[in-house]
């Protein structure tokens, strides 16, 4: 290999430092939660309204394998959510949508995690703090179990204009393992 730049110092000389610095300054870690092994709920509360967007990155497993979770905003468990999904399970592609949901299923839906294969995902929530728009969610999530698994693209909507100040992830059954981590990040606007 003959790179012209392979280190940060070299990258700076070729102009890459500008991009790097901008990315680092605009993306902040707000909080993270680790599973306890005895609870099926992960909560981020008192989320500040000082960012433009939120991103959640997670690696999740349930004590009893195969359980998926839903996302909820501001403790709202009423049927105020809708979603559309596109996913592939290694053989077929499925698209679907649901209205009047009591949460957003951002997780792997056709397979779920196993004891040796976690589900991972990235969730983006844009304009989460504005009070004039309903809130839209974008998610990519998947699990591979060396012979089964799925990859999911999800868009979700919360029919509420309130600023998001709390996010819960609640398993349909079982508990999050101690290897589960959910991390919340804030992305600043210019």
């Amino acid at each position: 290999m003959s790179p012209i730049s392979s280190t940060l110092a070299n990258a700076s000389a070729y102009g890459y430092r500008t991009l790097a610095a901008a990315a680092a300054g605009a993306y902040e870690s707000i909080a993270s939660v680790t599973g306890t092994g005895s609870s099926g709920t992960i909560t981020f509360s008192s989320i500040p309204s000082t960012y433009t967007s939120l991103q959640i990155r997670y690696q999740s497993q349930s004590v009893a394998a195969g359980n998926a979770f839903n996302l909820y905003f501001n403790n709202d468990t009423a049927t105020n959510y809708t979603l559309h999904r596109l996913y592939g399970n290694g053989a077929t592609v499925t698209a679907g949508g649901s209205v009047s949901q009591s949460g957003i299923a951002t997780d792997s839906q056709s397979s779920g995690p196993s004891a040796t294969s976690p589900v991972v995902g990235i969730i983006d929530i844009h304009n989460y703090a504005v009070t004039t728009q309903n809130k839209t969610v974008r998610c990519i999530a998947g699990v591979d179990k060396n012979g089964s698994g799925d990859i999911n693209l999800v868009s979700g909507l919360w029919l509420n204009t309130a600023a998001v100040n709390r996010i819960d992830f609640i398993l349909g059954a079982s508990s999050f393992t101690t290897t589960t981590t959910f991390a919340l990040y804030g992305i600043k606007g210019a």
Binding site: S5, Q59, Q61, G90, D144, I151, L153, L184
Partner: protein, 165 residues
Amino acid sequence: MPATYEPIATTTLGSATATISFTSISSAYTDLRLVLTGTHETTAATVRMQVNSDTGTNYSFTELSGDGATATSARSTSSARINCGNANFNNTLPSLITVDWFSYAGSTNKTCLVTTSQDRNGSGVVYRTVGLWRSTSAITSIQMFPSTGNFATGTTATLYGILRA
């Protein structure tokens, strides 16, 4: 709040090269993100990925793809690598590949999400892939390489570290 999403290293190829490697990756972060954009030197190839120079059949992946007309899902089990797309990394127009490794220094098997995007003004593909490396070892190196031949001059890859609070 602490800023994160820090650049660890960038490689821009000054000549055609068979493998782009990031080595001696520290365990100081929670997740890794690799962003690669570029072309193949001569032909259309599949970009493949291994970690820790593991060439055993310890990988598997499930992918979802669309080519402008058809959506497809496929899987590879007990593979010797994770594919980032399929024969779409060509020598004329650049492709964009992102790889997110989660809890890469943790105690579980390692899972990644891969996005592969290319549009060729009338053709092209988009891939979304979940990959598994069946090892509980911390990831300390990542190797990206085309299925045949070399990455072209100018191909760029950057590795970022993301740290949770």
